[in-house]
Symmetry: C2
């Protein structure tokens, strides 16, 4: 199914704009303008003449020019009528954010709408959803204010979510952590276009390299299975499943009106088709960001470089606990060379390599260079604690330089406050994956190793 | 052992000050001044006459007035001589940050020092440590610059750490997250004063209500066991153990020169004495902060209030997975009353209570009030997603008000960016415990329930 108009439409009508800033129709209109959308925005409301200097149309049929996408934000009882008018205006693509359908027991209202849309060959995302967003095209159709929900920068991760709230909260967090996204799709009740249609679309979408998904339940299991299987073969697909417990599943039913179904079945399918399962949203976020920056790892042998002994130890513990990774045994020749170059009794050159508290950028560079050269090492986890005074900011350049050739994954762990945050952001800007905690870095690396092992089969 | 002078000394000499800003001796001197320390600071260095307008003494014995604590930051070979001079000057308390003793194979040097100190009845924290800090008294003796390592505000959590790097990184992170601390003690090689002595001191310390600890290994197991047992009876003690794997334990040996020993033995002791085990530093931090704000929970029945359906579901999943908690069944009477008051078809009043996306502060207040009244509820987890436009900032006052009487724990989950961070900080200022992710909130609540169950036995 071609969903291009939801992300690239050149003209968008918003049915149900409002002059009241807190109303959904107003926020949608405002966001699209504030996002810097380059196309034509056409507000519709029978009671208004103009809004923010835009002419407001009484009805969608009054618009003379071509409309590629209609966004509907009016009460549930009025939605069907608006849709019939869209059809008259030859609009085939509709985004309906309105709630109050089957999720509150009004299944008839939704069935009627579904029947009309399908029999008129119209594509619809919604109902009961938060909207969609394309960060490359500035098509911002999320109905939450940009002042409260910061949008991430444009990147290569797309996020499909059955829950608008989860989508928006995670998006807001992702933005403030510097994670970069391509598309966001909250599909709500999946009345016409469902999760499988969206996955199929994202498989072909060139600006999407990683697919993330929050899912409660699906209506059509075999369709879902097929699209997931196809997707996972081509791009990393990371899924968080909500409603895994009996009580959670019950809550899911009243949420989007969909049965969460047996989680065992879902997890069975996920594993079978090679989907990456995340236990929670935090994990989903750092998995997605890691896969968006790093795709390949040759083996499972990890070298650790640290300026804090304790951090080396807990990172080593995390590697030991992981079933997918092991500690690299550095080659004696390279270790010897490094010893000559560093020439400091306090430095420990067994893995974890402890460059100790007075390490400067040069000492880090020597250790990193050795690990990159050593054939016994498949990935490097660098712990850089910026609290020590001798690390200069040029360490960002050193790490970024080695990261450029993508020869081996380099993951950086830096725990701290504001000073640390600035340096982490510089690394992220240069496409280096960074973490606050070593356990998260090792967890992400472990998923990467697992993914590569499955791909090789 | 009375360790008061390490935290409350009225006059502190720093042996080994330097005019070079990157040197440890300089940073120590500078930090103590910048912290706003009210006592007398006395710098010592035979080669300097003055530093930052302070008179520098050639030797500690040249100081006429009384010195309550000496901080030593000079090369390892010179430490013993400095200590003998401290003894001459009648200083009984010494903090030695210098490294280069048994952790690099120079056990003799350390043994000699230990023998001198003990036979002269002197107390010493170190060697090979980062220093100590009292946030209530502004006694800042951590040798990392305040510009790179932000210090937390004064509070009731004290943190004992065998690793300086872990201590400093976590402290820096804690400061930027608004967590509040009382004392920080990096004890390094534990040459004279060890972890057990520090625990014993903190048991009696009135400004310490929660004890946190990062530990690799101890020398005297039975002493440690006894002090831990005593402490855990009086205050929550939260421990992270480093070197739990064989490889991690090996790395620990070269770090602080102490054997990490069998982790099974440690964990056996922790469980036996009622210590709270944290799996990692992130967990330690949010456990500590939770226990610093909330101590009591009557039972294990949790009510969830959310403005995002998906968040209700994943929080319910987390409660279901926890062996210590269960979902509260709200009483019919209170549910009925709440239904009348809220009067909105979209709102779901089964637990999780979904006040939906257009919830305003009043609707939250009604739901929270009902949960606080309901005898079937022991704790309330409130999910407040600030991305929706109708929540006004006065929700901070509402939650803080109900939190005041400590009747039931209230934990708030808010995921998001800058706007969210500001409102979370306001809640934290009012002593309300907040989280970014529901799983962390449920995990902390679960530990709280477990702790209360053990205490009741």
């Amino acid at each position: 199914m071609n969903l291009d108009n939801f992300f690239k439409a050149k003209s968008i009508a918003i049915i149900g704009v409002s002059s009241s800033p807190a109303k959904v129709g107003h926020v949608l209109f405002r966001n699209l303008i504030d996002a810097g959308y380059k196309g034509k925005v056409l507000p519709v409301n029978p009671k208004l003449k103009s809004l923010l200097r835009y002419k407001v149309y009484k009805s969608i049929v009054d618009i003379k020019e071509k409309v590629e996408l209609a966004v509907i934000a009016i009460p549930a009882e009025l939605v069907l009528k608006a849709v019939t008018e869209c059809y008259k205006k030859k609009i085939k693509d509709v985004l309906i954010v309105t709630a109050g359908f089957k999720e509150v027991g009004k299944g008839n209202l939704e069935d009627e709408l579904k029947f009309y849309l399908e029999s008129h060959d119209m594509r619809m995302i919604g109902v009961n959803c938060l909207g969609t967003l394309d960060l490359h095209k500035n098509v911002d159709l999320i109905f939450l204010p940009r002042s409260r929900l910061k949008r991430p920068e444009a990147g290569n991760i797309s996020f499909i979510t059955q829950s608008g709230a989860i989508g928006s909260a995670i998006f807001d967090l992702a933005a403030s952590n510097g994670y970069k996204f391509s598309k966001f799709i909250s599909y709500g009740n999946a009345t016409v276009i469902d999760e499988s249609d969206i996955i199929e679309y994202l498989i072909k979408d060139k600006s999407t390299e990683v697919i993330c998904m929050y899912l409660e339940g699906v209506q059509n299991g075999s369709k879902f299975f097929e699209s997931l299987k196809k997707a996972a073969r081509i791009k990393p697909v990371i899924v968080v499943k909500g409603g895994v417990s009996e009580e959670g599943s019950k809550a899911a039913k009243s949420h989007t009106g969909s049965l969460a179904g047996s989680s065992d079945v879902y997890f069975g399918i996920f594993k079978q088709v090679g989907v990456i399962i995340a236990e929670n949203l935090e994990q989903m976020l750092y998995y997605a960001s890691t896969f968006s920056k790093i795709r390949k790892i040759k083996g499972n042998r990890v070298a650790i470089i640290t300026n804090g002994g304790g951090y080396g130890i807990i990172t080593t513990d995390a590697v030991s606990k992981s079933s997918n990774l092991k500690l690299a045994a550095l080659s004696e020749k390279i270790k010897h060379e490094l010893k000559m170059k560093i020439n400091n009794d306090l430095v420990s050159l067994d893995n974890p390599i402890d460059v100790v508290g007075d390490a400067n950028t040069e000492r880090y560079q020597l250790a990193l260079d050795a690990c990159m050269k050593d054939d016994n090492v498949d990935a490097v986890v660098m712990i850089v604690l910026y609290q020590t005074p001798l690390i200069t900011t040029d360490i960002v350049d050193v790490i970024s330089e080695y990261n450029l050739n993508k020869k081996k994954p380099i993951l950086v762990v830096s725990t701290g406050g504001i000073f640390t945050k600035i340096l982490r952001e510089s690394l992220e800007e240069n496409n280096v994956m960074t973490f606050s905690f070593p356990e998260h870095a090792i967890d992400a690396l472990s998923k990467l190793a697992e993914y590569n092992k499955i791909k090789q089969k």
